[in-house]
């Protein structure tokens, strides 16, 4: 029944399922690496691979028409602008804090008040 939509062999789902398990295990494995560019690169790599396979195969995006693909996957690209701006902003805020507050003492006053109350 053609009108019934996305129908694909079960085999492909089992393959992707297996791959997702593999990538999950691999990305869990990155937690045992020292912090640094290598670890962060691997985290991003496995993240993108997992996300890509979920969207493309499990969510069937690979078989949709381009009108839908671009309408859904295009707009999130502008989020990169937000992320870029906020990264610059975060850097700037940190520099100003280092300039004007002596690091690394515990900063705000109300934080300390709350801190004492919740000590266990």
């Amino acid at each position: 029944m053609a009108a019934d939509g996305q129908q694909h062999p079960l085999k492909i789902y089992f393959w992707i399922w297996g791959l997702l398990f593999l990538f999950s295990a691999a990305s869990y494995g990155t937690d045992f690496l020292p912090h640094g560019n290598f670890r962060w690169g691997l985290i991003l790599l496995f993240m993108i691979l997992k996300a890509g396979f979920i969207v493309a195969i499990f969510m069937h995006m690979a078989w949709e028409r381009k009108a839908l693909i671009y309408a859904i996957l295009g707009p999130p690209v502008v989020l990169l602008v937000l992320i870029g701006l906020m990264a610059v902003e975060g850097d700037y805020t940190e520099l100003k804090r280092l300039d004007f507050f002596s690091a690394p003492v515990i900063p705000a006053g109300h934080h300390e008040a709350g801190h004492g109350a919740e000590a266990h």
Partner: protein, 227 residues
């Protein structure tokens, strides 16, 4: 690409020709059931919400001058006296991936009109989702009662840790909980035979939502727990 039953009877034009034809024709732009198009647009808006949350988290984590608590230790579990880093989160990740697989199979059996199997797999998916929420409740309880983590501060380091953690994982947990309810309702209706005439697109639409919940977790896992 030729074996697809989708958009049967329409020639698959290449590249921009297809896009221009779809958008300029005097008819519906997306050749999918309207519910599916709407679900995709809802998920698009949800993408913006979660990205705003994660971007906010990035911003406060970058700008704080107090050391960030080490998630690997905070979320570690003691197993027979041995501390395993991120163990619970790892299990939650595999639980969600498993549920995504069962959901994908449910969609397949739905289109085959094997409604018993489709409903059973959807209930199984919902069960994995409920287990996920249960583990999250355990995680939150441990963090609040044992580690003393609060949205306004914690004894381990930067006070923004609690705020972003509870907001992001809380909002995701809310999505999982809603998904469990949604899947259970649709599964019951599938089992009852409500979609015999209308067709089983609804299973795929519910599946889209569920896969999205898993998708968001992929990003939370990478940026919050591993980074």
């Amino acid at each position: 690409m030729a074996q697809e039953a989708v958009s049967a009877g329409t020639a698959q034009e290449a590249g921009w020709t297809a896009i221009v034809n779809d958008w300029s024709a005097d008819k519906a732009t997306f050749r999918v059931p309207w519910g599916k198009a709407m679900m995709w647009i809802f998920l698009l808006s949800d993408t913006f919400i979660f990205t705003c949350f994660l971007t906010g988290y990035m911003n406060v984590r970058m700008s704080t001058t107090v050391p960030w608590p080490n998630p690997s230790e905070v979320f570690g579990l003691d197993v027979f006296g041995v501390s395993v880093p991120l163990l619970l989160i790892g299990i939650m990740t595999f639980d969600l991936i498993t549920s995504s697989g069962t959901m994908a199979l449910a969609v397949n059996y739905g289109y085959r009109r094997d409604r018993g199997r489709a409903a059973a797999l959807m209930f199984l998916t919902a069960a994995f989702g409920a287990i996920f929420v249960g583990m999250q409740a355990f995680e939150w309880t441990k963090l609040i009662t044992q580690e003393g983590i609060r949205p306004w501060g914690n004894p381990l380091g930067a006070s923004q840790f609690g705020a972003t953690f509870f907001m992001i994982t809380g909002f995701h947990g809310l999505h999982v909980s809603a998904g469990v309810v949604y899947l259970s309702i649709v599964a019951m209706k599938v089992l009852r035979g409500d979609y015999e005439k209308r067709g089983y697109e609804i299973v795929e639409i519910a599946g889209l939502y569920w896969h999205f919940v898993d998708l968001v977790w992929v990003f939370i896992f990478a940026f919050f727990y591993l980074w």
